[in-house]
């Protein structure tokens, strides 16, 4: 329970056996009485077993579906088990669960709340084509959603029952679909979106990808995904 609401934390995880126990443990420590669902996206290591041992509920996909596939499964679980609020958190420990009550508070007047990295708190920053992509996405999505959005690819989100219902039946599996396309879809259907500044931490395990070529590809893909999302029904 967070603020009297039945809350489910959804953590999509792919081969995160190194950090998943700490992430699950921290969430359960900070937010007692909250259920944690780890969606194992076809891991080849012991992610599912480690997560279960740490006290999470586990749904294990038979093969890798990508973040989008894992997330729809999480929202389906939330819908089937009647949760009021579903919050997604990354498995690498970048998202601080202490912000969760703040996100849930804002769900009073909003349907989807995003924990945003560049909105004041913390010192997370990026440069080059990756930054241009983020600026472009922010500018366009802020217009579509009629609210200021600075971190549209954040995987730290809280959804109320209405959005859970929608995501359970509709959630794109393709690249960036889980972040960019869901925002366009949600905003277009008249749901209210808000962002909250959150500080982002260093990854507990794993390394981020940094190369100029990859950043350019990212920019191109972001542009393609956004254009497609805008012309889709």
């Amino acid at each position: 329970m967070v603020n009297g609401k039945r809350t489910l934390i959804i953590i999509p995880a792919l081969n995160e056996s190194g950090s998943i126990a700490d992430v699950v443990g921290e969430v359960r420590g900070e937010l007692p009485g909250v259920d944690v669902l780890v969606v194992d996206d076809g891991s080849t290591d012991r992610t599912a077993a480690v997560a279960a041992a740490a006290g999470a509920k586990v749904a294990k996909l038979p093969y890798n579906l990508g973040v989008g596939g894992a997330m729809r499964l999480g929202y389906r679980y939330a819908r089937d088990h009647n949760y009021d609020v579903a919050i997604q958190i990354d498995a690498d420990g970048q998202h601080d669960p202490r912000y969760v009550p703040k996100l849930v508070d804002l769900l009073e007047d909003n349907d989807l709340v995003i924990g945003a990295r560049f909105a004041g708190e913390g010192d997370y920053n990026v440069r080059g084509p990756r930054r241009w992509a983020m600026v472009m996405l922010s500018a366009v999505l802020s217009r579509v959603a009629h609210t200021k959005l600075t971190d549209t690819t954040s995987g730290f989100r809280a959804a109320n029952r209405r959005v859970i219902e929608m995501f359970a039946s509709w959630y794109p599996a393709e690249y960036l679909g889980d972040t960019v396309e869901t925002l366009v879809h949600t905003a277009r259907r008249g749901y209210r979106i808000r962002q909250v500044p959150v500080a982002m931490r260093k990854r507990m395990a794993g390394t981020p990808s940094h190369s100029p070529a990859k950043a350019m590809v990212y920019l191109g893909r972001a542009f393609a995904v956004l254009t497609l999302a805008l012309i889709r029904r």
């Binding site: 509920k57 586990v58 294990k60 093969y63 596939g69 499964l73 679980y77 599996a173």
Partner: protein, 123 residues
């Protein structure tokens, strides 16, 4: 004359392959019928390549053979697009199945854990 023989034999070989695949139920009828229909049109054309020369001339194409080549490529492109579409639909179906499976497994695990707890508190 040689060309006619080569193309005609290729056509018949393909026809035999399709029929055999259908007979062994290795090919769904909806696809098999499509290829049979194509072969029924293509085999006579391979035997009499000048058959379409008049049509080609009215369209401004140099010869019937070029026209057949062009139409063949267009047809193959359409088939590829159709297959991509079918694969997309299949991927969506298997995705849903994978999610269902994961949900059911989670359900069973939760039940089992609850039952184990009951047994351990009873005992």
């Amino acid at each position: 004359m040689k060309l006619t023989l080569v193309t005609g034999l290729t056509g018949l070989l393909l026809l035999g392959t399709i029929v055999e695949l259908l007979r062994r139920r290795q090919l769904r009828e909806k696809y098999g019928m499509l290829w049979l229909a194509v072969l029924i049109i293509v085999i006579p054309l391979s035997l009499f390549p000048r058959l379409l020369d008049n049509v080609a001339e009215t369209l401004g194409v140099a010869s019937g053979v070029s026209l057949v080549l062009f139409l063949g490529i267009v047809f193959l492109l359409l088939v590829c697009v159709h297959l991509s579409w079918e694969v997309s639909a299949l991927e969506e179906e298997t995705r849903t199945l994978a999610e269902d499976l994961a949900l059911l497994r989670a359900e069973i695990d939760a039940d089992r854990a609850a039952r184990d707890e009951l047994v351990s508190t009873d005992g």
